[in-house]
């Protein structure tokens, strides 16, 4: 019972912190928040096959075993989220270095208007 409580509250805290950061205005905290959310979902996926202690993850003659499928799913999810995070870091960095501004929202002034004022 203690194990379930620990894992469940870890997922909860990670999700809550992730949600808070995702709602920030600048890209860096938002990316951090998404990373925390993906950690939370990875642990959640892992726990979806039930938590078992010291049981083999294969179907043998043993009466208790750990479900191997969520472990495979988690591996896939980890790889995908890692790749996606790398992509978003690169794009966000490009946007920040290009515009010298890392706000997530659209700028208040339309870039086409700014060009007209400059000319």
């Amino acid at each position: 019972m203690g194990l379930e409580l620990l894992v469940a509250s870890a997922i909860g805290i990670l999700t809550a912190a992730g949600m808070y950061l995702v709602l920030r205005l600048r890209t860096f905290p938002v990316i951090m928040g998404i990373s925390l959310l993906t950690y939370a979902v990875n642990v959640f996926l892992f726990a979806s096959g039930r938590l078992t202690v010291s049981a083999p993850p294969i179907l043998t003659d043993a009466t208790t075993y750990a479900d191997p499928l969520p472990q495979a799913l988690v591996l896939t999810a980890i790889v995908i989220s890692f790749g996606m995070t790398a992509v978003v870091v690169m794009i966000a960095l490009g946007a920040y270095l290009g515009a010298n501004d890392d706000e997530v929202n659209d700028p208040v002034t339309d870039p086409d208007d700014a060009v007209e004022k400059a000319t």
Partner: protein
């Protein structure tokens, strides 16, 4: 076992690395390989659609492992129809990208394009929820690259928003999958269909949460209000051919809703009752209204088209949320129509853009080739707003007819008809400002007029408009096929038995493993 059904996934997966590795610096070879690949894909997709048209359900077990343990690819009427639609759209988009030289403005356009097709085809063909997630990620990561193709600060910022929104969507998708697996112990769609039906009605908390989470994920993909905020900026700032290809991406969300909520959560299941008529239908009506008001309020042509995509997806979702065979058939007819209409409008807005400083809806000197461009805009706008005689009108009529017997009929009719009127005003105002008022402005003598767009660009848009006309002329045949597709969807037993009863390795699992 027939291997052709995996070809729409495998073919682009081979072509894309070939383009990157062997033809990196040769745009000519890239173009030839890319177009040849898409033409071959149309042939394969047409073959598959023809095979599925008699109601056959095609099954492909990867590595000969039997479902639910192995990965399966399934082709029925709906998925082969969507594959064919994607392949045809891809050809015209590709022709435009070549004609307008968009593919030369950055690296790896053709490779990313093929990967994007691979993801979309896989999402339509897979018979497994986790693979649906994986193919979503494949199409998304390719779309991230395409979205920021050719770079620029504005586009990069829009790209960041697009990627962040979709990453949150993917995380939600994983939460939903975890909840489903925890409840049922499987992620194969056919297996899920059986097991969800077996869940004790008193103990449906987990599966209800999963059903709502999944619906939210697909609603993000389909840009349903209030989950649509990613769409206007990213579609408006994406390169035009990419935005035109993205016209099918919102339909992937609609497809996933149709597939999951006919097969896994059957329409009359107690666990998901109220999900559609209480929640989805009002949201769909609001997105129809918001989209069409956005058309009227937009200050730039690309935003206008992006909001018309939200509006037309709202129309599709109104039809879907009624969830009767008639309304699903109407939705399928409208999906085909709105894909071609939205793609044509995005490409036309790029033609306008190539002759002007920006796309703001103010009068400027006439663009080169204005006569033909404005004619095409006229036809595409008629199709998108749903005026007679084109297919948008017929599709809207089918949706109105399907909504006549429901108890929300007043709302459905009122919102659809009013929003149509608003969108007509929006498109008429945009067209007359861009093309008509331009005649009153003297061109600046110092500026050299832009050369007229390439003939290939016009061929691509003309092809899309021709398909819309054909979709109108053969509306009877198209609608009866959509009806047969819907009938197959509402009788999922052959699908389930084909997937689960086809022998393969491990086909007789011992029952006590669960």
């Amino acid at each position: 076992m027939m291997h052709w059904i995996i070809a729409p996934v495998v073919l682009p997966a081979i072509l894309a690395p070939f383009i990157v590795l062997a033809a990196r610096y040769h745009f000519g070879i890239q173009r030839v390989v890319s177009v040849a690949g898409v033409v071959a894909m149309i042939a394969i997709a047409a073959g598959l659609a023809w095979q599925a048209s008699d109601g056959t359900i095609m099954l492909y077990q990867l590595g000969d492992w039997a479902a639910p343990f192995g990965i399966v690819v399934v082709g029925d009427r709906l998925s082969t129809l969507m594959v064919l639609l994607t392949a045809v759209l891809a050809l015209f988009v590709l022709l435009y990208a070549i004609g307008s030289k968009w593919d030369e403005r950055g690296w790896h356009f053709h490779a990313l394009f093929q990967f994007q097709l691979m993801g979309i085809m896989g999402a339509f063909l897979t018979g497994d929820l986790f693979n649906l997630f994986v193919f979503f990620e494949v199409l998304l990561i390719a779309s991230y690259g395409l979205m920021i193709h050719a770079g620029g600060n504005v586009r990069l910022r829009a790209g960041v928003q697009y990627v962040l929104f979709n990453l949150i969507g993917s995380t939600l998708f994983l939460f939903a999958l975890g909840a489903i697996y925890a409840q049922t112990g499987t992620l194969n769609m056919a297996d899920l269909a059986q097991r969800v039906a077996l869940i004790d009605p008193a103990d449906t908390v987990g599966i209800r949460v999963a059903a709502v989470l999944l619906l939210m994920v697909f609603a993000i993909k389909a840009a349903l209000v209030p989950l649509h905020f990613w769409l206007p900026s990213s579609y408006a700032e994406a390169p035009a051919p990419v935005a035109a290809l993205f016209a099918i991406m919102t339909k992937v969300g609609a497809y996933a809703i149709i597939r999951v909520y006919t097969l896994i959560f059957s329409p009359d299941a107690a666990a998901t009752s109220g999900l559609f008529d209480v929640w989805l239908l009002p949201a769909a009506l609001v997105s129809l209204a918001v989209g069409m008001m956005g058309v009227l309020a937009a200050k730039k042509l690309d935003r206008l088209v992006a909001f018309s995509v939200i509006g037309s997806m709202g129309m599709v979702m109104v039809a879907l949320s009624m969830f009767t065979p008639a309304s699903i058939s109407a939705a399928l007819y409208y999906i085909i129509h709105s894909t071609f209409a939205a793609a044509a409008l995005f490409l036309i807005s790029d033609l306008v853009r190539s002759g002007r400083a920006n796309l703001k809806l103010t009068a400027m000197a006439p663009i080169s080739g204005a006569a033909l461009t404005s004619g095409m805009f006229f036809v595409a706008a008629i199709a998108m707003t749903g005026l007679p005689p084109l297919s948008g009108f017929l599709g809207k009529l089918m949706i109105l007819q399907a909504g006549f017997d429901t108890n929300m009929a007043t709302w459905i009719w009122a919102v659809i008809l009013c929003s149509s009127l608003i969108s007509i005003v929006g498109f008429a105002r945009a067209g007359s400002t861009l093309f008509w008022k331009a005649k009153s402005i003297e061109p600046d003598e110092e500026t050299v007029p832009e050369p007229a767009p390439a003939a290939l660009s016009y061929v691509a848009i003309g092809g899309l408009l021709t398909l819309l006309v054909a979709h109108t002329i053969f509306a009877g045949a198209a609608y009866s096929y959509a009806e047969r597709t819907a009938a197959q969807l509402f009788a999922p037993l052959p699908y389930v038995s084909t997937v689960l009863d086809t022998p393969g390795k491990l086909s007789t699992p011992s029952k006590e493993t669960y």
